[in-house]
Symmetry: C2
Subunit: 137 residues, 2 copies
């Protein structure tokens, strides 16, 4: 019974959002909205929010919640490898890291506790060589 997802209409606005999502950055809905506006679109903020959410539901974009509480969106490269960052607490510089073992580990733990729909976040921070040299600790 019941339709899975009513498939949203392809409107001008929805197309614009998809086009704007070409950079690989995580940005807030407001930031994407600003970008669209600065490129001449007349799209409304609420529409950007609605669009990003429905795209996230469809798995077209990834959404993460920042520490500030804002939700950041980024186009989801299908088949892209999941990775994390090692960020410097002094200067903010981030290095990408892979944690391949962890992906499997997360699912194993989840199964042990019968939890479903697992998601994980790994935050690795430290002091980079430059900041350490500058005494920033």
């Amino acid at each position: 019974m019941s339709a899975a997802t009513p498939a949203p209409r392809m409107t001008r606005q929805r197309r614009e959002i998809l086009e704007a999502l070409d950079t690989r950055d995580f940005r807030s809905a407001q930031a994407w909205h600003e970008r669209l506006r600065s490129e001449g679109s007349t799209i409304g903020l609420a529409t950007v929010y609605r669009g990003l959410q429905s795209l996230a539901d469809q798995g077209e974009v990834d959404a993460v919640v920042a520490e500030s509480g804002e939700t950041l969106y980024r186009r989801c490269e299908a088949g892209e490898e999941h990775h994390h960052h090692l960020r410097c607490r002094g200067c903010g510089k981030a290095v990408e890291i892979d944690v391949p073992e962890f992906e499997a580990f997360a699912h194993r733990i989840a199964e042990q506790h019968s939890y479903g729909d697992i998601q994980h976040t790994i935050e690795l921070t430290g002091i980079c060589p430059e900041c350490a040299a500058a005494g920033k600790d």
Copy 2:
């Protein structure tokens, strides 16, 4: 030359917050406030927010941002073995998990990049059996 952190005063309110934080649950500032009020305290909401934040800064409590954007707090057991949680996105129930391999992994990565004073956070979330049964997904 300047004190590092002005060490907050131990007021009745601050003590009440610490006392309320006896359960190991992750709860929102508002939820802790409600609990304090229901136990007879006259503490204000802003005070609870300020108290929890300063406790988080001191490392006395852990703070995580839920998907809704709310910040959840839980007392951090001092001297407790470092561990992480598998938290339910439906009801907030958390299960402690060990990720022994990860501790070593974090240090290995840090060394590769010459980063020092490493800290890490692992957030594992899913839907617990009860919530899954209740259709909360």
